[in-house]
Symmetry: C2
Subunit: 311 residues, 2 copies
């Protein structure tokens, strides 16, 4: 019997005592710990060799960079500024000092200091865990649970590139001409700048990052805000590279954009028909309903997203 | 080539930018983040299957309990009160839902809520990482770097029991009569209560927890405070069980007490000859010097501690 991430989170939640001090725990991209007029936000994410990365596909610098990026993306999703990382790694004997040096340089790409950590040995796989901490003004925090019926749904950039990059690596395809897709997979960038800019806009009601694909991740906002959504597949921002790639290999770019994940763009909802002073793309709308998503202009008329799980 | 924990910490330190906001990072049991009159302290520790625990030796409840305990021990060492944990686990397919439920119950033993986490799958071993966060009044924080020449050195309880428990498990010895030793290894308790009590005493100058053994860990205080020490081996608090056990198998209890680690007692220094209102045992003294330890009444006249490494 295997176990889904959602089952596990439910298990943890069921055993929780009540929090004190208005702390908000499991449920958003990061926990929220109020500290006066500001809050600290804290998140943790693991990357496991041969599950999240392969040593033959990525350099130690890239693995370090991505380990930081996926955590900082959660900080960005809260509209917060990161100020520290905690690094735990379990290192098999095959990994040498030079690898670690490059890996640490990768983590430091984003200029956020490592404040602590733990290093242990591992019998087989390399295991990386990073905990990131940031801060944000209390009235700028964007939660998943505060979307409003009638909101427009936006994303901050192209979707599906990372998934196509992974597809190229997994199927050992020729990357010539599609280097930007592989790059999107190996070197994702957390949307820290636009995250803090969106956080300051009152018309932005909810926000999260897209790590597992738009079609799956939107449900976190729907479930927690008690809403349904329409997503217009014609509006999804798809790069020219992804279109060319999908054309060549007879694949569907919409599926990559909806389902592939790891683009680490932000997904947010904002007051209807506001003209946002930022480069974002409207992809749908929210309405009162039981947590369903209607896909307009979908790849096939009966398209249904059947879910994503790490296991 | 393999890599020691200390090399790695140095590597991280060398690549650091300067911290802002008086944050103190790597070097103590936990990072210190000032928040007005108080500080948050944050620490992270991993437990890896077949390195730190074996599934056949410990129940899932015990593994969860110990995962929390080793982190909370670092919080105790700062004199802080824990208020949250972040849990990352990478779970192989052989682990089922019931295992996880028991594991979570174990983590929750100490009443500290899980505020967030990440779950991923793993190809082979089970990986656990916990990040713990606590708070403490700024003027109660006990650092490793603030010991003073002339201080007495204390520990908060018996040493060596956990190491003997591990020895019993590793060598498949009959545990009858020595259950308390095995118990000390599988179910260590973080010294949270006495940690906060010591934090309030002005005469206590430095503090840390003993995870890798007194003889090794004392060097963190010596190096950071610029001192040397004498440790009187006759004064080490050794349980009756450990003495009986060592008698039976012709082992040296002093070596267990000095070198074995994982007792998670607190090690601290306090003003000379103060009568502390707490149940602690004086084991030595600090003096100005180049970071050396002189062992009085040591197991052998030429006894030298040759170091401990995870790798």
């Amino acid at each position: 019997m295997s176990l889904s991430e959602f089952q596990l989170i439910d298990t943890i939640r069921n055993f929780q005592p009540n929090f004190s001090d208005d702390i908000e725990g499991i449920g958003d991209d990061a926990a929220i710990i109020p500290v006066g007029q500001q809050s600290f936000v804290i998140t943790t994410d693991s990357l496991v060799e041969n599950i999240h990365f392969k040593m033959e596909w990525a350099s130690p610098f890239q693995i370090g960079r991505k380990s930081a990026a996926v955590n900082l993306s959660d900080i960005a999703a809260m509209g917060a500024q990161p100020f520290g990382l905690f690094l735990s790694i379990s290192v098999p004997k095959t990994v040498d000092y030079c690898w670690i040096e490059q890996f640490i340089l990768g983590i430091k790409t984003f200029g956020v200091p490592i404040l602590g950590g733990d290093t242990t040995s591992s019998k087989d796989s390399l295991f990386i865990n990073i905990t990131a901490i940031g801060k944000v003004d209390n009235n700028s925090i964007k939660r998943r649970s505060t979307a409003k019926s009638g909101d427009d749904i936006y994303v901050t950039g192209t979707l599906g590139d990372s998934g196509a990059g992974l597809y190229i690596l997994q199927n050992n395809l020729d990357p010539v001409g599609f280097q930007s897709l592989v790059e999107a997979h190996l070197n994702p960038s957390p949307q820290l700048k636009i995250g803090t800019e969106l956080a300051e806009l009152r018309e932005v009601h909810s926000m999260m990052d897209i790590s597992d694909g738009l079609a799956g991740d939107i449900h976190h906002i729907l479930d927690q805000s008690g809403l349904s959504a329409t997503i217009d597949c014609d509006k999804l921002p798809i790069s020219e590279s992804l279109r060319t790639f999908c054309n060549k290999y007879d694949l569907d770019p919409i599926r990559f954009a909806l389902e592939a994940g790891e683009d680490y763009q932000l997904l947010f909802s904002a007051e209807k028909k506001k003209c946002l002073p930022l480069p974002c793309v409207k992809v749908g709308e929210l309405y009162t309903g039981p947590g369903q998503v209607k896909f307009l202009n979908s790849p096939s008329p009966d398209y249904k997203y059947t879910g994503y799980t790490h296991f």
